[in-house]
């Protein structure tokens, strides 16, 4: 277990470092704007805001919250304190609501949508890629270009095409929202059914995009492994084909798991945009509304939460990888 603990410790330290870095970036980047950030924010906001007392209240609250007249490190300490209390301030575009209030429910919509979609897309993509590498012939010639095309199609393109075909033209599935607008979220069958129906289009558009990219990677990996010396040696020894294939795909799988951890950020980015196309009530749509409403606190909080979610997921995958990769297990005996 010692080798594994060392691996785990290293990954944990790395997780903490990235977390701090993400946090710092979220704090610093917007402050690189010349001039008083709060004044700039409120000036932008005031263009569309008719409620003068609201503007004043926001200005005062933010000057106090960010402490813009204080030195940078005091501002940072304030920021840290506020974030850890879950206090992201008021939302500009949805003023009197607080940012935490706006975000609370949408986090779950995003987790429930993206987590299964990315996992299923990854599994399907890897199976197809492995098959293409193993079966070769017409199957490979079909899968590879289709995969390249699917991964070349941007997430919003796939989402729009599915929306137009199944939502607008065939009218099989609803085109927007997370559940029927006439319903009040309550735990009954009608509501659950409505959620399931609204779930389909965003889900499959994320899955289809993930399949393409993963299939290409897995195909190359499997081909490399199929040409490796140990395969030739096993064939020479007369090991059964089934057994060799199992070894090959287990070995090809390992880099794919690391690949998933590394590609997660990009995948989540695409999935957020798919959410926007379907007005799915997750973080993507919130982010979009925030940008449209020039709502700085909302954008800042959403990006921070997205980053943290991706970091946690990456960390989880790496921990899991430690259990699967025999080389880390082997380190125990050292």
């Amino acid at each position: 277990m010692k080798g594994y603990m060392r691996y785990f410790g290293k990954k944990l330290i790395w997780f903490i470092i990235t977390f701090i870095a993400a946090f710092l970036l979220n704090f610093i980047l917007p402050r690189l704007m010349p001039g008083d950030p709060v004044a700039a924010i409120v000036a932008r906001l005031a263009q569309g805001q008719s409620n003068a007392s609201g503007v004043q209240a926001i200005y005062e609250q933010y000057t106090e919250l960010f402490g813009t007249n204080e030195p940078m490190y005091t501002q940072f300490l304030l920021y840290v304190k506020n974030v850890f209390q879950g206090d992201f301030g008021f939302s500009f575009s949805q003023y009197p609501r607080s940012v935490a209030d706006v975000l609370r429910s949408s986090i779950w919509w995003t987790v429930i949508l993206q987590f299964p979609a990315i996992i299923i897309g990854w599994i399907l993509g890897n199976s197809l890629g492995a098959l293409a590498a193993y079966r070769k012939g017409w199957y490979d010639r079909l899968i590879l270009p289709v995969s390249i095309f699917a991964s070349a199609l941007p997430a919003f393109g796939m989402a729009t095409i599915l929306l137009v075909i199944f939502g607008v033209t065939l009218k099989w599935l609803p085109t927007s929202g997370g559940y029927d607008v006439s319903m009040i979220p309550k735990l009954n069958w009608a509501y659950i059914w409505s959620v399931v129906v609204h779930y389909q289009l965003p889900f499959w558009s994320i899955v289809l995009i993930a399949i393409g990219g993963q299939a290409i990677g897995m195909r190359s990996m499997s081909i490399y492994e199929l040409h490796a010396d140990y395969v030739k040696y096993s064939r020479f020894l007369g090991v059964k084909d089934n057994k060799i294939v199992r070894y090959v795909f287990r070995n090809a799988m390992l880099p794919q798991i690391t690949g998933l951890a590394l590609a997660l950020g990009t995948m989540v980015g695409g999935a957020l945009i798919a959410e926007i196309v379907f007005s799915y009530p997750g973080l993507g749509t919130i982010l979009y509304n925030g940008i449209m409403g020039q709502d700085y606190p909302l954008i800042s909080a959403t990006t921070l939460i997205i980053t943290i979610m991706v970091l946690i997921a990456t960390f989880a995958i790496e921990i899991l990888y430690g259990f699967i990769d025999p080389r880390i297990k082997a380190a125990q005996s050292d």
Partner: protein, 416 residues
């Protein structure tokens, strides 16, 4: 070199991708030579004018008519006003007001219209009928007026002195104008967008701008990646540690988050296409750095590099003559992928409303953003978004195909 190029052009995947890319590039280059309109000129009143050939009505009235005796003309005229769906809708109404179903023949236009004329009452509200449906019947009724008439239409103009109408000409049903003789016509291959701008002209300019963004961002990202990768891989030690620290950091922090924060911070006014390209370039160098570093490390201890070192060649020369030629193919492939992903990233940013400012030039992402804001996808205005998605997919597909082709040339194991 010559041999490599010949080999590359023998890869079918590369050739297909290359031809597609060149076709797009040539279209972008040649189209403006023939059509000199500015891409963002508003040419139509109202939004989403459908694709087609537009002929000026006033001019065609003043153009010499020819008489053509075409049999199907009347039938076509009726069909354009009274579709099979309309006939079924008429039948529904007639059944609802109490006509027996076997008395209604939807194929016999004359008797159907007679029944309709006798039984339709625009003020009548049928039970359970939606307002939209009621309005549909009112529109249908108005469209059907005079549908069976065989007489022509009289054109009248207002007399400037008396203010009365004076007949100028009669247009017979068998009158035709030759489209070549009508002075004002406009082909809108892809209709107009939500602001009433020609989508075809717009999309070709936008493709050019997006390619430019892709190339600038790709060059920046590849340049940074190459320099950092070389430094980390060749120098090693502390430099390697520092570079790898930042590379690992920016691999896990989602690029889209950085892009959103930076684009939002620099503000709408200073966000031009080039600024966006630079921002994309500076946020997507991590993958190139990683791979260049890995390649350089494997090259660093090869014999020819060691020999060069022993001969006392300066580092710069070793890098240029002993390392770069070996990773050139790889860097070129990375550049292709960077261009393709930069185009996709620009589109994503623009959809989020953080793309280049909108007043000067369109980009593919901005066009999608406009189409989505005006709900083109829900309203069925396919020409506003579908061509854009297809172009993005084709550009990205052709670049990826070229990359796969190159990959198969340089890594023979991947070949079929």
């Amino acid at each position: 070199m010559k041999k490599t190029i010949r080999q590359i052009f023998h890869s079918p995947k590369f050739v297909v991708g290359f031809c597609m890319f060149m076709f797009i590039l040539l279209t972008v280059a040649i189209y403006p030579l023939f059509i000199k309109d500015k891409p963002l000129t508003i040419i139509s009143q109202g939004t989403f004018v459908p694709p087609g050939i537009y002929v000026n009505v006033y001019d065609s009235l003043n153009t010499k008519p020819y008489t053509l005796m075409l049999d199907a003309a009347a039938a076509k005229r009726i069909a354009s006003k009274l579709s099979p769906d309309d006939r079924i809708a008429i039948k529904e109404w007639l059944v609802a007001v109490g006509i027996l179903e076997n008395q209604i023949d939807t194929t016999d236009t004359k008797s159907l219209l007679e029944l309709w004329g006798n039984n339709y009452d625009p003020k009548k509200q049928l039970p359970g009928m939606t307002y939209a449906k009621t309005r549909y019947y009112q529109r249908l009724n108005a469209a059907l007026e005079g549908i069976l008439s065989t007489e022509g239409v009289t054109i009248a103009a207002t007399d400037t002195l008396t203010g009365t109408l004076q007949a100028k000409a009669t247009v017979k049903q068998s009158d035709y104008v030759n489209i070549n003789e009508v002075p004002n016509k406009r082909v809108l291959l892809l209709g107009t967008d939500n602001f009433g701008r020609d989508v075809m002209t717009e999309i070709i300019t936008a493709t050019g701008v997006s390619l430019l963004i892709g190339i600038i961002a790709g060059l920046i990202a590849t340049g940074i990646g190459l320099i950092l990768g070389l430094a980390a891989g060749y120098i090693g030690g502390v430099v390697d540690d520092i570079v790898m620290f930042f590379t690992n950091l920016f691999t896990v922090i989602p690029t889209i988050v950085l892009l959103i924060l930076i684009s939002f911070s620099i503000g709408q006014e200073s966000r031009g296409p080039v600024a966006i390209a630079v921002v994309i370039g500076f946020t997507s160098w991590v993958w190139t750095t990683r791979s260049v570093r890995a390649q350089v490390i494997s090259l660093r201890n090869r014999d020819h590099v060691s020999l060069s070192k022993l001969s006392g060649h300066p580092v710069i020369r070793i890098i240029f003559t002993d390392i770069l030629p070996y990773i050139a193919s790889y860097v070129f492939m990375a550049l292709i992928l960077q261009i393709s992903s930069a185009i996709l990233i620009e589109a994503s940013l623009s959809i989020l409303g953080l793309g280049p400012r909108t007043t000067e030039v369109p980009t593919l992402g901005l066009m999608l953003n406009w189409a989505f804001i005006y709900q083109a996808q829900i309203l069925g205005k396919w020409w506003a978004y579908l061509p854009v998605i297809i172009i993005i997919a084709l550009v990205s597909f052709s670049l990826n195909l070229m990359n796969t082709g190159l990959d198969q040339v340089y890594n023979p194991a991947l070949r079929d």
